[in-house]
């Protein structure tokens, strides 16, 4: 039986913007593992593999259930040592750094631009839960978040740190992508699949890298359905 990934879906079940699920999808593709995805809605906890945990990504591989994108990465490199996601401990530490950078810099900048858009695209049954949970997390109403100004500029400023490595190397992993690339591009899939608009402009080396990431694995990420 193929490995199964529980993946967050909007009202259109083919639209799957979760950044953390995307990090895992990239990692599974990197490993060359066959997998199927099981779409779940934000509020649809009864259909989550662990309703009390109530979050995705979760993967089921035979008898094994693994939760949390960072835990899944570590588990994948143990369970499937071929095509490691990181080649050295130094690369593993760098992946932690890039993931922490997402949380301290990219996500805070981009979130206010996305929450109202995702709310609008969520299934009707998911909207009340989505609104309540996000308003609690951010301490603002969705409408207040959407009215925040200057976020585009903050996103674009945050992306500057990627220009240095990507101006010199094809990937954050060097010649070939590694876990750093999958963390960061996983995060970038979130705005890409939450709106039909391009809501920020990446510096040239970053924009070129995004195109390379979209091309990987036979264009898997490029083919992912965007809202119309």
């Amino acid at each position: 039986m193929a490995l199964k990934l529980y993946d967050l879906a909007l009202a259109d079940p083919d639209i799957r913007p979760s950044p953390f699920c995307w990090m895992v999808k990239f990692a599974l593709l990197h490993k060359g593992l066959e997998f199927e995805t099981a779409p779940v809605g934000f509020a649809d906890k009864a259909n989550y593999p662990d309703p009390e945990y109530g979050r995705v990504p979760v993967i089921i591989d035979g008898e094994e259930t693994v939760k949390d994108s960072a835990m899944i990465m570590a588990w994948l490199d143990k369970a499937y040592p071929e095509n490691p996601l990181v080649a050295t401990d130094g690369e593993a530490a760098a992946a932690e750094f890039s993931r922490a950078w997402l949380f301290s810099s990219f996500f805070p900048a981009v979130s206010p631009m996305l929450v109202a858009r995702i709310h609008a695209l969520a299934a009707d049954d998911d909207k009340p839960y989505f609104r309540a949970s996000r308003e609690e997390r951010f301490g603002k109403t969705i409408e207040e978040l959407a009215a925040t100004t200057g976020q585009k500029e903050k996103v674009e400023a945050s992306l500057q740190v990627l220009s240095a490595p990507l101006g010199r190397y094809r990937f954050l992993g060097g010649d070939a992508p590694n876990l750093c690339d999958y963390y960061v591009m996983g995060a970038f899939m979130w705005p890409r699949l939450s709106t039909s608009e391009d809501i920020y402009e990446a510096p040239q080396p970053v924009a070129a890298w995004i195109e390379r990431m979209l091309d990987l694995f036979d264009g898997y990420a490029r083919k992912a359905k965007r809202p119309s």
Copy 2:
């Protein structure tokens, strides 16, 4: 003849706070290369190996002159391939990332706290040049910079991204330090050697890593003279 590093000095020639010179000192120690340092003042361009370039670090190794800390790193790994500063291209790209993070996050936060202190500690002959060049760079007087509030909190917020890798690994390079460690710790030597005060508090995993970095190479960085 031992390799020579031109290193910035304050009025007390034993106080050498330049972060970029420190990055290079760590790299030379990592390589196990013998080197001597030549102190130069901020305005003392005539004594720089290339007065027109007018910056340090510069290293002289026999016939070879190499300028700019990032260029020196690349040159060192070519000229002295033993004990590489990075083990893979992925680690090299990660070092670029950590260096770019310093410029986008740590340096902007910490600089306003340091400029007036360094001015006070600079040699009298260097003070007018130091003031003019820094006031031009920041677009503010040294006194205005020193009066900026909230910088301690900004530094401490910036350091959060280091907690994730350093909570899991002994060094940014994993089990052992690599170029990422030397870039970041080189930058941290700047506040350490520009004031007798500890002007910010690092999160616990970062504070513990700083102690490990100070211990490296027989305590080389720990022994460096601080202002009294």
